[in-house]
Symmetry: none
Subunit: 419 residues, 2 copies
């Protein structure tokens, strides 16, 4: 069954609020194996709302509208749906009573226009309001259906689980169809999207033949490239079985082509992945940053419990701070020698087992004869130092972000190889 | 002119990423007085993309598509647009060369399928890629037009300002559209949205009578509350006149109610505003961070030319680093005394005129008897120290973000009052 989401509200078109409802509903529908091929945003305008609903019904079996069920003039979803159904609105006295009682319970007098929320298109079935004053609606349109829920996220989600999802699943069962979709994301840093696509092309073709698993690549900018496996099964355990069977093949193909670039799964960030490696070896970390200006450190402290393994950082933005505080020897500060001395210097100054240092050229001008985007990462493991050199794209903020995740990945890989 | 936004990507339908592009584009179009009545989300599917584009062209004069311009099999926006235009794709050798050179500059070999990004629908005009490898497209469809930009937000926004907005405005002029809309944003930190709305209520009513200027309040989370003035005039100079006439009245009303909370205008960030104050007084700055873990420092280095006034930072995450490196006296580290000693300690260690220090409780647990959200900011101006105490809302990441901008605002206000 194909479900189209229509999010209603001029504030969405004006960009004054983010449409988190469509994202949440899309996630829920996908998790239950229900297709959603299109979403729309439309403003609080009767004619355009009717037009959007007709477009949606022309390409989906069911429509979920969010918003426009409030008590004010611009809450006109009810009348737009009634026009699409070709019926009129009827006052539902039972709903009206519930709304009145809600206000009484809160010791407030009800403004009359709140009764508009008790108007229901003829033939529609109300979804009782539990969390707010606005009831939802289940509106049959021939053998199709329009579900209407309020735009308030926690009212919307409650009605979706209580009334809409069961109705959709009942309709799917009636059509003898129901599948479950589960997905897993492998997070990579150090491989290009096109490179991954090429390395995985044979596997992609192979998997697409099976119609059980699909692979997608999500370029996530400063967080690298995500490889998403999505499996479809009769029920959840079956879909998970398929995922667990195929994930290792995808990992192997990626690691065969690019080495240890997969740093995390699903929501695991690079700093969380690095924290695991440090904790597993009970090592403490100190950081010296130049070009990144504190970004690496600010990512590390986002890991809950960082205080057990993280000592702190020196942001040596001025060269004299490198020389006087970190005891770096005079000379070019964008160099392998400089980052190795910075790493060892901060390790000793802050009393840590591991020192990580980043120095580079954010641009637009070159520095120490190095082009913008050139970044050196130095690592000291209990005094044993080495460095890596990177050439990174983008403007100043991007170079800093890429430098940060590259440095964290470099240390993560070092720990996994050598320590 | 009516512009429909079509955000492309199966990950949007599955709710795996939020559609921030439509929100941003909607805000930009509105700020320039361009109508946008509908948005759509569609997946990486040729037939459905063509259908979505045809729906959009049936109800708008122009369409902006975001996404699907990458180098992989599921990046098919180019071919979908070509079908809607009724033309074929042609390889643009100049674009191909640019892509090749980008990979060479980064010292990487280009996977062949990256050249797909150089394919252009016959009769379309490419928008050169400045920040990524994917060019954008301006695709005439009769007297309508489809603009295609990458889904990566910072590539999308750059192409919108450089190529798409000017093209839309030129088309509006060609249609002899008279009114020009210009807007200006006053950026505040330290006043609540409802407080601002209340303080400005009389002015809002007054202005709305004039039909020349409208005021909008945009709660921008960690960047504070934006107050946007939008003026409509016969042409740009006239609209700017109106803005310049009304802006001082809005400023006065805000400052009368909340003091020096307006830190910037339009895109001016808090760190840029602070840099102006430091440069005007030729003062240098050093930072000591605990709870913020490097966030303050990483914001400061985003200001071009920061090296002339910024020395660096000590992230004293472990208490011993506060005691041993910053010479803070033993005792509670979340206190006014501690941040004053941190500020003076880092000022001396890094050799700066001004020291700024932040220590606090990100939560969820209390520390030193202080509740989560309690943050102390210490300031040393050439050895003269003082501190402020803040109680901030939100979870750990939000407390860190609020702490950072609060500390920068506190220093900015201190410099403007005392130095």
């Amino acid at each position: 069954m194909r479900v189209e989401i229509v999010a209603i509200g001029t504030e969405l078109l004006l960009g004054q609020i983010a449409d988190t409802n469509s994202q949440w509903l899309g996630e829920q529908l996908a998790a239950h194996g229900i297709d959603s091929h299109f979403h729309q945003h439309v403003g609080d305008n009767h004619a355009r709302m009717v037009a959007a609903l007709r477009v949606a019904l022309s390409r989906a079996d069911a429509v979920i509208t969010c918003g426009g069920l409030g008590p004010t003039q611009d809450d006109i979803t009810r009348s737009a749906i009634a026009e699409v159904m070709g019926v009129s609105l009827q006052r539902d006295e039972r709903l009206a009573l519930v709304i009145r009682e809600m206000f009484e319970r809160r010791g407030r007098t009800m403004p009359d226009n709140n009764l508009l929320q008790a108007d229901v298109p003829d033939g529609a079935q109300p979804i009782d309001q539990v969390r707010g004053t606005a009831p939802g609606l289940i509106c049959p349109v021939g053998d199709q259906v329009i579900y209407a829920v309020p735009g308030v996220p926690y009212e919307m989600s409650e009605m979706f689980h209580r009334a809409i999802l069961p109705d959709i699943i009942a309709r799917e069962r009636a059509q003898g169809r129901q599948a479950v979709i589960v997905s897993r994301v492998l997070r990579t840093w150090g491989a290009s999207e096109s490179g991954l696509a090429e390395a995985l092309a044979p596997l992609v073709n192979d998997l697409e033949g099976s119609h059980e698993v699909t692979l997608a690549f999500l370029a996530s900018g400063i967080e690298g490239i995500k490889v998403r496996l999505t499996a479809r099964g009769r029920e959840e355990n079956h879909a998970l079985e398929i995922l667990n069977r195929e994930e290792p093949r995808v990992r192997e193909a990626i690691e065969a082509a690019f080495g240890d670039v997969i740093f995390g799964t699903d929501d695991e960030t690079m700093e969380h992945a690095l924290a695991h490696e440090l904790i597993a070896r009970s090592l403490t970390l100190a950081v010296a940053e130049s070009v990144t200006g504190g970004l690496v450190s600010s990512r590390l402290v986002n890991v809950p419990g960082a205080s057990t393994w993280y000592r702190g950082a020196i942001v040596s933005y001025a060269s004299e701070v490198k020389f006087n505080v970190l005891k770096v020897s005079e000379g070019p500060v964008v160099s392998g020698r400089a980052v190795e001395e910075m790493a060892e210097g901060v390790r000793q100054l802050l009393g840590a087992d591991i020192g990580l240092a980043i120095s580079g050229v954010a641009g637009p001008e070159s520095q120490d004869g190095e082009a913008p985007g050139t970044v050196f990462v130095g690592i000291s493991v209990e005094g044993v130092v080495h460095h890596q050199r990177f050439s990174l794209p983008g403007d100043r903020p991007r170079v800093r972000q890429y430098s940060s995740i590259s440095a964290l990945q470099a240390l993560r890989q070092t720990l996994r190889q050598d320590v």
